[in-house]
Symmetry: C3
Subunit: 360 residues, 3 copies
Amino acid sequence: MTCTAHQLAQLLNAEIIGPHDVTVTDAQPLDFAEGNHVSFVSEQKNFKALRKSSVGVVLLGNDLKDEIPPQELEERTFLLVENPLDSFIQSIQYFRPQRELPEVGISPKAIVSESATIGDETHIYPNAIIEDEAVIGENCRVMSGAVIGSGCRLGDNVTIYPNVVLYPDVIIGNNVIIHANAVIGADGFGYRLQEGRHIRIPQLGIVRIENDVEIGAGTTIDRAMAGETVIGEGTKIDNLVMIGHNCRIGKHNVFASQVGFAGSTTTGDYVVCAGQVGIADHVHLGTGSVYGAKTGVHTDMEGGKTYLGAPAEPIEVAIKAAKILGKLPDMRQQLRDLSKRMKQLQTQLDQTSSSESEAA
Amino acid sequence: MTCTAHQLAQLLNAEIIGPHDVTVTDAQPLDFAEGNHVSFVSEQKNFKALRKSSVGVVLLGNDLKDEIPPQELEERTFLLVENPLDSFIQSIQYFRPQRELPEVGISPKAIVSESATIGDETHIYPNAIIEDEAVIGENCRVMSGAVIGSGCRLGDNVTIYPNVVLYPDVIIGNNVIIHANAVIGADGFGYRLQEGRHIRIPQLGIVRIENDVEIGAGTTIDRAMAGETVIGEGTKIDNLVMIGHNCRIGKHNVFASQVGFAGSTTTGDYVVCAGQVGIADHVHLGTGSVYGAKTGVHTDMEGGKTYLGAPAEPIEVAIKAAKILGKLPDMRQQLRDLSKRMKQLQTQLDQTSSSESEAA
Amino acid sequence: MTCTAHQLAQLLNAEIIGPHDVTVTDAQPLDFAEGNHVSFVSEQKNFKALRKSSVGVVLLGNDLKDEIPPQELEERTFLLVENPLDSFIQSIQYFRPQRELPEVGISPKAIVSESATIGDETHIYPNAIIEDEAVIGENCRVMSGAVIGSGCRLGDNVTIYPNVVLYPDVIIGNNVIIHANAVIGADGFGYRLQEGRHIRIPQLGIVRIENDVEIGAGTTIDRAMAGETVIGEGTKIDNLVMIGHNCRIGKHNVFASQVGFAGSTTTGDYVVCAGQVGIADHVHLGTGSVYGAKTGVHTDMEGGKTYLGAPAEPIEVAIKAAKILGKLPDMRQQLRDLSKRMKQLQTQLDQTSSSESEAA
C-alpha cells in the first residue's frame, strides 16, 4: 500500500500541516521510521525523540498543535488527530493489513475424537488433535499440532496457536488467546522425600483460565495438586512465563516475559510484573502492586506500591540502596581515614592532657 | 464424588472427632478449602493456617490429637490418621480420580519407522513420530506430536507427553516422564570466533537420562559436544529449565522452574536449586548443597550448605548482608556526622592545646 | 570406532610422543576423559586440568611441545598438532560420526499448501506444515511438526527442527538453523489500558532473521508492532531466550540461555550476553559490549566494555562492590566503635579543657 500524506489525512480524518504530497509507504515506530513513513507523537516529551527521527509524516494530538517546534514544521508533515496512537494503529492496518486466519472448518487432516463437541464457525486445522470428551465453543481456532486434552472445555472466540498443549480437563473462558508452544495443565512440581527418593505427589487438580486472557509463546501454567490453578479475567501473560500449581492470579494482571510464580501464590487485580521477576510460593501480591524487572519476592506484598530488588523493597528504597552501593568503596576508605584520624586525635589529646598535667 | 465425613473416615480408616454428617465434595489445600472440603494439617504450626481456613473437615496426625485448639474442635470435623499427607492424597484421588491415559497401541496415525523397535504394551499416539532405529521399551507412552529421533533408546514405563522433541541418539532409562514441549538433545551452544564470525563447534555427544527422572514442560537439555550430558537417577526438573551441554547432574537433584546450568557443570547428589537459579560453566555443586531462588553461582560450591545471592554466599551471610543493605543510607549519614564531629573535635583540641601552650 | 594412538596420529597428521599402542575409543572433554580417550590441551594453563584428568591421549599444540611437564610425559601419549581444537573436533567426528539428516524430499505425509514454493534439494518431513504462499529456498530441511506460516520466506540451507512455529510473514536468510520448539513471530506484548481493561495493540510488523543466524530450542522472538524485529547476520542465540517486539539485534551477537530483551531495544555488533541477562526496552547496547550472567540493563550502554550486576556497572566496579558487600557487617561494627570512641574522646577532651580552665 502506498499513498500521499493528503490521502492518509483523509483516511484518518486529520487536519494537515505541511506538504500534502509526501509519499507514505509504511507506518513505523519513531526510532525506526524513515522519510516516507508515518509515525506518531502522543506527548510533549516525544518531540525530543522526533528530533532524532527521519520520519516524514507525524500523527499528532490536536492538543499539541501549538507546541510543534518551528524546526519540525519546516521538515515534516503533521496530521492532527484526536488520538495519535489510535490513528497510528489505523495506519499500520492500512499499510500492512492483518492476514486473515484461514477458515478451514474441521480439517479432514485434524484428529478429532468422536466424543468431542465442536461449536459452530470453529476451525480445527490440519494435524490438530482434539481428544475425548473435549468441548470447544463457537468461532474458535485450534491450529496445527495443538493438542486439546481429554475433557478440556473451551469457550467461544478462543484462539489456540500451533503446537500448544492443553493437558486434560483444562477449562478456558471466552476470547482467550494462547500462543504457540505454550503448555497448560502439566503436572505441578510436587514430591516428597521417602527413603532417599523423591516420590511424586499426584497432581489431580485443574487449570481454569477466565475470559479475555492472553498467554504468550512457550509459557507454562501447571495444574493444581487439588483444586484449581486460576488465571483471572483479562490478565495478559507474555512468553516463557511459569505459573506454578495452585496459583490464583487475579484479574487484569500483566506479566512480562520470563516471570516465574512458584506454587500456591495469589495476586489481587491489576498486578504488574516486569521481566524475569520471581515470586515465591504461598505469598500474596496486593491489588495494584508493581514489580520492577528481576525483582524477587518471598513474602506478602502490600498493594498499590511499586517494588524493586531481591529481596523486594519499595522502589524508592531499592534505588537509594543501589545508588549507595557504588559508593561503598568510598565509604570504606572514609571509615579507614576516620579510624586513623581518631587514633591521631587520641594521641594528640593524650599528649595534651599529660603536658597539661605536667604543667599543672 | 460426594460423601459424608463419616464415609470418608471409613475410607481412610480414620478416627473421627466432631460432626459425622458434614458433606464433603472435594479435597483442597488449606488456603483454598471451603466448608464442604477436606484438607490436612501435618504439623503443629499449620494450626495457624487452619485458623484462617474455611475448611470443614481436617485430616490430622494421631500425634497431634491433643493439640487441637478448642475453638477448632467446635467448628470442624477432624479425622485422625497415621499420615495426613498420604490420606489427603488418597482423598484427592477419591474426589478427582486420575484420568486414565488412553491405550491406543501403535496408532495407525502415528509415523513409525520400519527400523524402529517398539516394546509390548507401549502406546504410540496419533501423529507421534518414531524415527529410524529408535528403540522403545515396554509399557511406554509416546503422545501426539512427540518426535523420537533416530537411534534414541527408551527404557520401560517411559511417558513422553505431546510435542516433546528428542534429537537423535538420546538415551532414556526406565520410569522417566518428560512433559510437553521439552527438548532433549539439541546442539550444545559452542562456537569459536574465526575471522570475525562465530563458527559452530560440532556437537556430537549425546544426552543420557537415568531411571526415575521427571522433566518439566518446555525444559531444554542440550547434547554434549563430545561424551555425554547426564541427568542422574531420580532427579526431578521443573518447567523451562536449561541444562547446558556436557553437564553431569547427580542423583536425586531437584531443580525448580527457570533454573539455568551453563555447560560442563557437575553436581553431587541431592542438590536443590530454587527458581531462577543460574550456575556458571565448569563448576561443581557439592552433594546436598541447596540454592535459594535467583542465586548465581560462578565457582565450585561445598556440599551440605545452603546458599543465596549473586554471587552466592552461605545463606546466613547473604541474609545478613541483605538486611544491612537497607541500612546503607543511615550508615552513610553516620559517616558524614562522624566526619563532621571529628573536625569539630580537632578544632576544639587544637584550641585547647594552643590555649594550654599560652597558659603554659 | 576404535583405533590406536598411532593410527589417530596418522589420521591427524600429528607427531607422536609416548606409547603408540594405546587404544583410543572416544574423544571426550578433559574433565570427563578416561584412559582410552583422547582429549586436548590448547593453552599452557590447561596443564593444570590435565593433571586432574585420567585421559590417555592428549592433542597438544606444536608450540607447547617443550612445556609438557615431565610427569605428564611419563603417563600419557601426546599428539602434536597445529590446532588442538581442530584436531579434537576431527577426532570426535571420527569416533562419533554425525548422523546424516534424512533426505525425504517432500514427504507425502507433510501438509504443503498448493500456493507454497519449495526449492530444489529441500526436504519437508512428515507432519511438517507449509502454509499458503510460503517460499522455501534450496537445500533446506523443515522437520516434523514444524509450522511455516503463510507468506514466510526462507533462504537456502535453512534447517528448521521439529515443532518450530513460524507465524506468518517471517523472513529468514540463508544458512539459518532454528532448533526445536522455538517460536518466531508471535505477537508482541502490547496493550493499552482502557476503562480498566488491557486492550491489544495489533502487532502487524514482521520478524526478519539474517544469514547465518542460529536460534536455540524453545526461544521466542516476537514480531514487531509495526516495521520489523531484526536478528542481524551471524548472531547466535541459545535456548529459552526471549527477544521482544521491534528489537533490532546487530550482527555476530551471542546470547546465552534464558536471556531476555524487552521491546524496541537495539544492539551493535559483537555484543555478548551471558545467561539470564535482562535488557529493558528502548535501550541500546554498544558494539562489543559484554554482559556477565544475570546482569540487568535499563539504560543505554557504551560499547567495548564488560558489565555486571543489576543495575549493570562496569565489571570492575561491580566486583569491587560485591566484595565489599561481604564486609558490610564489619563496616557497620566499625562505625559503631568509632561513634563510641568519638564520644569517649569528646568526654576526655571536655574534661581536659575544663581542668585546664580550672588550672588556668
